[in-house]
Amino acid sequence: MKYMFNNSTNKSFFSLTAALAILIIVSIFSLSQGYADIHFGTIGKIFLEIISGNEHYNISDSSKLIITEIRLPRLVASIIVGGALAYSGATYQGIFRNPLADPFLLGIASGASLGIALLVISPWQQNLYVGILTPLVAFVSSGLTIVVVLFLARKAGKFDNYSIILAGVALSSIFSAFTSFILLTGGENARPIFGFLFGGFNTITWLKIFLGTPYVLMGGMTIFFLGHRLNLLQLDDDQAQNLGLNVEKTRIILLAAASLIAAAAVAMAGIIGFVGLIIPHMIRLIVGSDYRLLLPLSAIFGATFVVITDVIARTIIEPQEIPVGIVTAMVGGPFFIWLLSSQKRISM
């Protein structure tokens, strides 16, 4: 019995706790960073006031509002979006048995971009930044893209990885081409598209967060309960079926859930690349390919990563802002170079 007894449960518990602790520390740190100089003590007092509901500290209105209306929404959105993208990426990698898959593999990004591009040149351009039209359009376009991809795959006959990826890549290319065309001919008016394409939390509001989070929760809960099936999917379809998995159904459900949370993330913060790809890959190198651990750990580290990159994005060239998508790309590129040269490559 001593052979088989593994303390993997203890190891999992430990690593998850440690990851959460890091996330909390990083989050507190992020609240203290910004253009305005606000001390830790002040931040603590602000929270105490919020919790207790009284105002017994003499804190300036501006500090309070900066924390509650600017830094805190950015922090919360970073956690949700980062966690969602990494969770989604890990799921995609499991479904497609490919450590290089990412949530935008099937065209969520190009679909959302095209939707936004069309909105920008449409008569409703007036409402681009007003209210929830932009996140709504982004969300609906990404959702439609996935539906069309699955429909195309079904028409081809099977829901196997090959057909789905083929359909996704085809659609991605078409949508990207259209988006580029609109950008090219849009001139000045096309500028908002860039903002969306590079992703960022500069214009995040509590409203956008409340709108997007339910979808992240829906998809997230699905993956939370069914994600362990991905372990079986690492074998071939026949084996997985023989071991009790309804392969087609599982694949569709997990794909839909992962796409849903990625679409919600894109609706909230634009297109932030590399998170869905790097984080799960990195975690895999450390803890292996057991999806029961890989999934939650990826989500937590994804959140931490985006919190950090958002701090960088808004402080490194103050008062200017760099889109978060560019910061993650700057980290992602070197990571791939390192991967190339390192021994610890995961074989596909």
Partner: protein, 270 residues
């Protein structure tokens, strides 16, 4: 689902084909097959390549659905069972299954426990004991923490057999379980199968070696051109005529006696 499982617990389990046909791309791979894979016996499925042996195996596990007729597990049709229910009763060992190179042996065998695992696929002590026992039975316990990519072909095959054992099923479907195994390992596997059969399991093995079928199996199904040409004991099936009809090979048959089983010696044209 649970009710069905308990119903099976006491009755004998076997696979029954009732007038099963399977069509693919306008061609009948199998035509009107009716037979039973009985419990307590090791049954060999032999025939030429392309006769339909793999399809037969897939129909037996429920992964393929018949175009006509039905396949039964006891008296329940396989198509009325969920994948999980089938997995609780039938263990399949394919010929060349894929496993990621970096997967540990222990984890692969543990995947066989999937139908038994709880809500978040958490492993219990019982599951770990099952995995350990399975590895012991195929004499691979020492490989437990090796990666699949580091094993030889024969070792891999034994691990996949161990996984089927860990599933704790009463029906085993295996495709060439002893290919690429050393002689001692071959003996070991067949001894294991016979032991399982004696404990009540129903076992179907696809074999190319007719002598293996003769030596180790209780029954033989001879598949030829999409139908069952004949079935029965080795004495009944492995005759000069049948072997010539199916393989076009002249043979000398050494009948069984108390020292050795029936043997087939293929003759070369002189």
């Amino acid at each position: 689902m649970i009710a069905k499982y308990f119903m099976f617990k006491d009755s004998k389990k076997f696979i029954e084909f009732r007038n099963v046909s399977f069509k693919f791309a306008d061609r009948f791979i199998l035509k009107d097959i009716s037979t039973t894979i009985n419990s307590g016996k090791v049954t060999a499925l032999i025939g030429r390549n392309g006769a339909g042996k793999t399809t037969f195996l897939k129909l037996s596990s429920g992964i393929l659905k018949p175009s006509n007729g039905d396949v039964f597990l006891g008296d329940i049709s396989l198509s009325n069972m969920t994948s999980k229910e089938r997995a609780l009763n039938i263990g399949v060992v394919q010929q060349l299954p894929f496993a990621p190179d970096e997967m540990k042996v222990r984890d692969l065998v543990m995947l066989g426990r999937y139908p038994h695992l709880g809500l978040f696929a958490q492993e219990s002590k019982q599951d770990m004991i099952a995995v350990e026992d399975a590895l012991k039975k195929v004499e691979c316990l020492s490989l437990a923490f090796r990666t699949m990519g580091s094993l030889s072909g024969g070792e891999k095959r034994k691990i996949f057999i161990a996984r089927a054992l860990a599933q704790n099923v009463d029906i085993f479907l295996m495709d060439e379980p002893t290919a690429n195994l050393d002689l001692d390992a071959q003996l070991n596997i067949f001894a294991l199968l016979q032991k399982l059969a004696s404990e009540g399991a129903a076992i179907l093995v696809v074999l190319h070696d007719v002598n293996q079928a003769s030596i180790y199996c209780d029954d033989i199904i001879l598949l030829h051109e999409s139908s069952i040409l004949t079935e029965g004991t080795p004495d009944q099936v492995l005759t000069k005529k049948y072997l010539y009809d199916v393989f076009g090979v002249k043979t000398t048959i050494i009948p069984a006696n108390d020292k050795f089983p029936r043997l087939v010696i293929p003759l070369t044209d002189s």
